[in-house]
Amino acid sequence: MPRWRWWLIGMLVLAVAIAAGYFPVLKRNLRLSAQAPAKSEEQVRRELTQPAAANAGEPVGKAKLFWSSGARDGSLMAVTVDLPLPRDPVLRAKQVLNTLLAGPVDAELRTLPPDAVLLAFYLLPDGTGVADFSEALATATPSGIESEEMAVDSILRTLEANVPQVRWLKILVHGQEVDTLAGHLDLTRTFLVNARAVALPARPAAAGDSSKPAPSAASGPAPAKSPATGAKKSASPQKLTPANPPGKLAPTERKP
């Protein structure tokens, strides 16, 4: 037998021996990776939709977010969350709305579709906020007066609780005014968020201001006071929950 064949056989035997030695290591690695928690779709989505404002430089504060109470009667409950809360009202609004969209731990308590994304948020000098959502807001919100009202009300109450500069809110879908959210609730109007909103400080016209869209109602906002918004005046004072690590949900607080 030629010498090169001996060499070839020797190399093959050596390769098989190495592979046999490595096999238990490979098996152990496979077992470990199977045990490691895989990133859920929801987790990946949360990471992708984290607002740019959520950075370590911003002061962490308590944000009050409104999700479904789970009572199946259209009521919302306030949940206190520790979040980086920028002082800039636009960044702050983006932060709380993105967290609202990300949803509570219990997916059953969502008020907004998981696929919906906040595309942009603007704040006009008169206190009118303009929230532009992706099309999923309209296409994936369950059709019905109760479900649509709950979706919009959760947005309004979350903004009212966390961004005192927002007086009114106009909701756009992919940059456009739409007739209804999902067949029932009127989105051609501008909703009242907070009648006692803090006036924006006067500032010189900036380049960014000119790009802000004007609210569709040329004659000014037409308020739509939601039942929950009206009811909150008589509700008992909110309790703050103990401090938690940033981004963690505090115990829930039910609100009629």
Binding site: G74, S143, G144, I145, E149, D186
Partner: protein, 201 residues
């Protein structure tokens, strides 16, 4: 009485996993409500009777063309406690500054809000007696269909298309029809129709 079965045509409205379609259910509810109202002497007009889908404005126009009309739009929710029914009236609309006495189409409901509220509370009180777990008073929401309706107007929403069996909803229809008819009957004495066109109620 103008009865408006919501949705229709290519718009099925809410859809249940069991194949229940809001647009079909509300046609049956409207037919039974029509019968109950006619039994009490009301003249009833339907905005649609089968699979057509008039626009919001077309539906409102049917009510706005009548004198002394009362408008009820019927819906079935995707959510909510099954077996309950909620009545909605339009949330606040800014009063018109128009000095001509004409009511702007886009805010046609504005002058009728107090009447709508009264009518809604009456219907909701009858519904809450029949369907346990339903609210006792009408809710407020920015319902698109109500905004352009120049008449006392309410939306009635039944929960929900999420039930397993369509029969559960069908069994609610007589009770809903009866509550609307009794509410309309109780409301009638308090509804003073304007005598001149454009006059506010």
């Amino acid at each position: 009485m103008v009865l408006d079965p919501g949705h229709g045509g290519t718009d099925p409205g809410a859809r249940g996993t069991g194949g229940i379609r809001e647009s079909e259910v509300v046609v049956d509810f409207s037919a039974q409500t029509k019968t109950a109202l006619e039994a009490l002497g009301f003249q009833v007009v339907l905005t649609r009777q089968s699979t057509e889908n008039p626009s919001f404005d077309d539906r409102s126009a049917i009510a706005n063309a009548q004198r002394g009309a009362v408008f009820v739009t019927l819906h079935v929710a995707s959510t909510g406690l099954p077996g309950t029914v909620r009545v909605y009236v339009m949330s606040d609309l800014p009063a018109s500054s128009d000095t001509t006495g004409l009511i702007p189409w886009e805010r046609a409901q504005a002058p009728f809000l107090p009447l709508s509220r009264r009518f809604g509370d009456l219907v909701q009180s009858f519904l809450s007696q029949r369907f346990k777990g339903s609210p006792r008073t009408a809710q407020v929401a920015a319902v698109r269909q109500l905004r352009t309706t120049a008449a006392p107007a309410i939306a009635v929403e039944v929960s929900s298309v999420a039930v397993d069996d369509r029969g559960q909803l069908d069994r609610m229809a007589p009770g809903v029809a009866d509550a609307i008819a009794r509410g309309a009957s109780a409301f009638r004495p308090s509804y003073v129709v304007a005598t001149n066109p454009g006059e506010r109620p």
